[in-house]
Amino acid sequence: MTHFDEMTCLLYIEGQLDDGRSREIGAHLAECVSCRDLLRALQHESAFLSSALTEENEAIPARILNEQGRGTPSWAWTLAFAAFAAAAYWFWTDGIGPWIDQLSNAGFGGTDVFSMIVFSGAFWEGWSDMIDAMQIGALILVAILAIGWIRRRVRRPVAVAVVMSALMFAAVLAQPASAAEVRRGRTTVIPAGEVVHNDLVVTGASVRIDGTIEGVLIAFTRDLTVTGHVTGDVIAFAQSARINGTVDGNVRVVANSATLEGKVAKNVTAIGSTVDLASGATVGGGMIALAGQADLDGKIQRDLLGIIGTGDLEGFIGGDEWIRGGNLTVASTAEIRGQATFEGPREPTVESGAKLASPMHTEITQEMRRNRMSAVRVGIRAIFSYVGALVVGLLLLAVFPGLFRAILRETGRIGLPFGVGALALITGGFLIVIAILLLIIGIGAGVAALMIYVPILYVCQIFVGTWLGNKIMGEAPAAPGSVTGAVAGRMAVGLLILHVARLIPVLGALVGLAVALWGTGAVLIGFYRMSRPEVAAPPVTPVPA
């Protein structure tokens, strides 16, 4: 009978062979010394391995031993809850209530709730364009979370397929946006008679549109003149912007001097050092003006909302008027159909001929009052971002506990993440610039760059906050079960402190910067550590006999 190979021997000692084969081997072993020796050596090796592996050569870390009994300190929850309740109460009584009143005073009752609550704090209605970018960022974050969740359940190829198809889907979605026609050059003129059957993006020193744009016009230029017809919106960043033509959509313009002489079917948002609505101009919707000086001689069918240093009202306002500023003159030619309100340091001048539906409601603002108002607004924004960050943080903690802890650990190292974060943010700054440049060329590519950047910048506060909470309340008990609750409590406290700190004028900005640097570094290192390959084993080289 032949000897057995090592494999068979191993399977034999491990009891992995069927009865017949086992008996065969048993019989062979009885008469074969060399096989018996091999068998014994392998058995010794197994026993040696078992004892080496099970030997209690090191103590169980205290972190693991001590944690299980402790729950979250109840005061942490109490504090977090109380803070939240107080914030919510304040939010409703001081924030939303007067705000909604004020908004409806200003004739903003009709806009949708979301943009009213979140973005009317920023008077620039053009924020609604920015919302898209932020929503895309949020969607991407959710998508990343979803992919992570799927990946934990499905094996790799499927996850890859999901990611790929999601990316392709995103690319397809971005396609229409990037399909806009782009024109560059020192001077761009769309002559009268020419029709652009597309959205148009133009850059250059001077842009003149005498023809027709069947779509949105986006212009980055020094001088913009529109005498033609734009069927969509006009979005312009210019030193001087003059719109004499017809715009069927909205006009949103940021310019040193913005002049409107034509007909705008929808709303106008104008930010500039001087904003002129010439007497021939008509605005079909409402107008928002942020201006050092504004001459509003034209016709505004709906409401006017303005923050204006020096304002002259000579035209027609179909809805309410609300202006905050330094000086306001309502000329005799003016007509205001709705409620007229002015907030400023002195009484507005209302000339005798002016037709006001009701007397001008005036509020004389003191410096104190102004500060309080803006503090309320800043506070509301802080609460929003606090609650948002907390929700995202809890989501991260629930879906990726491992990654969360890895990043948190990196956060604790302070120095390294700071350096890495600074580096990343500087390159990131370039990325953003490139992204913006790419926005002109292709929105898809710009969004792709933002995709990486926005979520990271957003989540860094979560980790720094949790770290801070840990410092204040002691390391989170890493006990199973209670771990999530305890970390969540610390996250709530830490984030609250961060958000409160951010409200402090100068310090707040520094805190924000520090959090961004530090957190970004930690997130990047954490990601790196999670994905890094294991420390490679030195190549096993057989020793020559």
Partner: protein
């Protein structure tokens, strides 16, 4: 003997107490869960310590495993030994983590199947075992590719069956023996290297 690794190796009364505790923990009883944790966390930590490359990894993995265990407790089938189930959860978790770190240096199936293993000289093997300490073995273990190390840990620490190992590592059951044997060979080679002298080895005997 090994009450630490297999708390079921205990009296029927203790068994009953354990099952009762599990049942209580399933209902959300924090105290019962705490007891379960205290009883099993050290063994699971040691398991992770062997399976994962660093101590920090092992601590984190232990935490995460118990979070999973608590979530999945309702799925535990009381007819199976509790610790075996626990090890299954732990093994899957650790293997998942290791796999995710892209085991590039891992010599995958092809090599294991293709490279013939030298028949060892029993005398040399015995001498090698005698001349090495447990600590040296553990250190050598750390140098093994992840799958080889995992296989050894699953078999000789958790005492898993070949079926369980096959399921965890995602290999065919008939392949488990090959993985284990190959791992033992690699371990021997590393141990020989450590000792400096070539006691047995790749060469012909």
């Amino acid at each position: 003997m090994d009450a630490r690794r297999h708390p079921e190796g205990m009296s029927p009364a203790e068994q009953a107490a354990l099952q009762e505790r599990i049942a209580l923990a399933k209902t959300g009883n924090a105290e019962a869960w705490g007891e379960l944790y205290r009883q099993h966390a050290p063994a699971i930590f040691r398991f992770c310590r062997r399976a994962m490359p660093t101590r920090e990894d092992a601590e984190d993995a232990t935490m995460d495993i118990f979070i999973k265990v608590r979530q999945k407790l309702s799925q535990y089938d009381a007819t199976r030994p509790f610790s075996a189930w626990l090890y299954t959860v732990a093994a899957n978790h650790c293997w998942d983590l290791l796999r995710r770190r892209k085991l590039r240096q891992d010599l995958e199936t092809g090599e294991v199947e293709n490279m013939p293993l030298e028949h060892p000289d029993p005398g040399q093997l015995e001498r090698l075992i005698e001349s090495r300490t447990s600590q040296q073995v553990r250190r050598a273990l750390d140098q093994l590719p992840a799958r080889a190390r995992m296989a050894l840990v699953l078999r000789y620490y958790s005492e898993m069956s070949y079926d369980e190992i096959a399921a965890t590592l995602g290999v065919r059951r008939t392949f488990v023996g090959v993985v284990l044997l190959r791992a033992r060979h690699q371990l021997r080679e590393i141990l020989e290297g450590q000792g400096g002298a070539s006691l047995a080895a790749g060469g012909a005997t």
